[in-house]
């Protein structure tokens, strides 16, 4: 059996070596695929904080992904049309600057997570799952019916946004930027997990009544986890939109929320690198199986079913022989 630490480093190394190889072999599409995997991994790392540590089965994380996407789409749209966004007396200039877009995405999705979390965390269990799913659907339909930003058709952004000191039009540079953000998010996850907050949150998942009897409020712990989680997923949405130079209501779709959970489960829930491995595998399967058959999702369904029924702990669980981070 392999130690989890080694698996983590090997995977990260893979994310450095493969795109570099692609760069020299002149395979830009492989770089794009790797970028897609990195961004989906970031979204799932965000979700993993709520789901893996806090045990919050959110089936509505696409809300934050979509909000991040639209934060990028709306700001860049106003920049490329040279028409500022007018909200009554408030006039906001569009921007093509990634840092500003990212901060907007983080703040917007954190606020949304705060409101959704406050409502959803009044409940637990299946209620929580259904309610987060419903909120996802609410944003989905809202984005379809709000025609100012393309409605159902979405918004195209003609040129990728800028990051100071980089040429983001070069696939490898944009990839590197995304990978750096992912590593930052992984750092946050691992720090959080071992902090007093992470300890309490992790206990709140397993034994909420215990957490209460030591004088802590499990609901507030989970709320903060949900906000952090939503913010990170929101950031990934902004990057995803920049990768495709396009945003549309599908970023809010319930399928996406489901897929984010799937990524985590394939890799290993609660594991630091679970979402990363899951995302890499997902993108690889999508590409390879998708090339063989139009109906690759059937096979994804079968694989997922087998993992849920027989391989608890996902890929990391199989490789390390341990179903959970500790047991």
């Amino acid at each position: 059996m392999i130690a989890e630490r080694w698996i983590n480093w090997i995977v990260l190394l893979g994310f450095v070596v493969l795109p570099l190889w692609a760069l020299f072999a002149d395979e830009p599409f492989t770089i794009t695929l790797a970028t897609r995997a990195v961004i989906l991994a970031l979204a799932a790392v965000g979700l993993n904080i709520a789901l893996g540590i806090g045990g919050l089965v959110s089936l509505g994380h696409a809300v934050f992904f979509g909000l991040g996407g639209y934060a990028m789409g709306i700001l860049a749209h106003h920049a490329q049309t040279y028409a500022p966004l007018e909200l009554g007396p408030l006039v906001i200039e569009g921007t093509k600057s990634m840092p500003i877009i990212w901060v907007t995405a983080l703040v917007t999705s954190a606020l949304a997570a705060l409101v959704i979390g406050l409502l959803s965390l009044r409940t637990t269990g299946v209620y929580f799952i259904m309610i987060t799913l419903a909120f996802g659907q609410m944003f989905f339909f809202f984005s379809i019916s709000w025609s100012a930003y393309g409605g159902e058709d979405g918004l195209s952004i003609y040129v990728r946004n800028d990051f100071p000191g980089l040429n983001t039009l070069q696939p490898i540079q944009f990839f590197g930027l995304c990978l750096a953000v992912l590593c930052l998010a992984l750092g946050i996850h691992s720090r959080l997990r071992t902090s007093p907050f992470g300890l309490a949150l992790n206990a709140a998942r397993q034994a909420p009544e215990r957490v209460e009897t030591v004088g802590l409020n499990p609901m507030r712990l989970k709320l903060l986890a949900f906000v952090i989680s939503g913010a990170l997923t929101g950031l990934s949405g902004a990057l995803f939109a920049d990768l495709n130079r396009f945003v549309s209501p599908t970023m809010f779709s319930w399928q996406l929320s489901g897929e984010l959970i799937v990524l985590i489960i394939i890799g290993g829930v609660g594991r630091l690198m679970g979402p990363v491995i899951g995302a890499a595998l997902f993108v690889a399967l999508e590409h390879l199986l998708g090339g063989l058959t139009e109906f690759w999702l059937v096979w994804l369904g079968v694989i997922l079913l087998l993992i849920v029924l027989f391989a608890r702990g996902g890929i990391i669980g199989i490789l390390t022989g341990k179903a959970g981070p500790n047991v």
Binding site: T123, V126, W254, G258, L297
Partner: protein, 306 residues
Amino acid sequence: MSTILILEQVLNGLQFGIMLFLMAAGLTLIFGVMGLINLAHGSLYMVGAFAAAAVAGATGSFLLALAAALAAAAVAGAIIEIVVIRRLYRAAHLDQVLATFALILIFSEGTRWVFGSFPLFLDVPSYLSGPVTLPGGIQYPLYRLALIAVGLAVAVFLWWLTARTRIGIQIRAGENDREMIAALGVDISRLYTLVFALGAALAGLAGALVGAIQSVQVGMGEPVLILAFVVIVIGGIGSIKGAFIGAVLVGLTDTLGGIFLPELFKLFMEPGAATQTGSALASMAVYILMSLVLIWRPTGLFGARA
């Protein structure tokens, strides 16, 4: 806006609500008895619609099509219960969500494989087509009235089944204590398969009935499924009565919101912006309703206090 239009929209909302009830009743029954959250319920709705469209296409008989929808969904339900769902009753909600999500993928793509990506159409039978004149001079499609009637009949049947029959007693006992009823000699795994197939059949029926007024296509089930979740969150999980009242509330809110909110905003906004804002808000109306109910009663209108 005329009273006739309003009444017509109320009937539309009612009809939509009643179809949601068929979905929600199965979901809430399955959750109440087995503690299972079943995302694949929307797939059973789709299975019903496709079975009906295929049989109607081959035989031309609407009644045969309905029978096929019920049978196909019930059989599909029983099969997935026996092969997959059964292993999930004691599993974590997360596992249930994932496994049933996997089932959606398999059902949806499998159906696309068999039937292709183009929508099928199911026609309203001639004896139910055309409008009827209701008291007050309202012209209303006969088929939609028939849907309301069928839904109400199912509601009465479910009430009778759970309140008045042996199976109903077993179902209610199973909600409280599965060891107890197993000890009383009830074959619990058969009971579960039966309840699951019943819920599936109701979903299939809804799919077939709605299939005649919308197109039959892959992915048609999930939006309805999610609204059915909203319904049982509002009504309270496990309660058939809650599912009924929640469904009617959601049906009316969704339908009437879409018509009246834009009109409402026109009272104090310019028409273009009013339509935009009104319809955007209407698309969120049922979720806002759900949030309000949650703030007021976190376990729904008729849910057991946790």
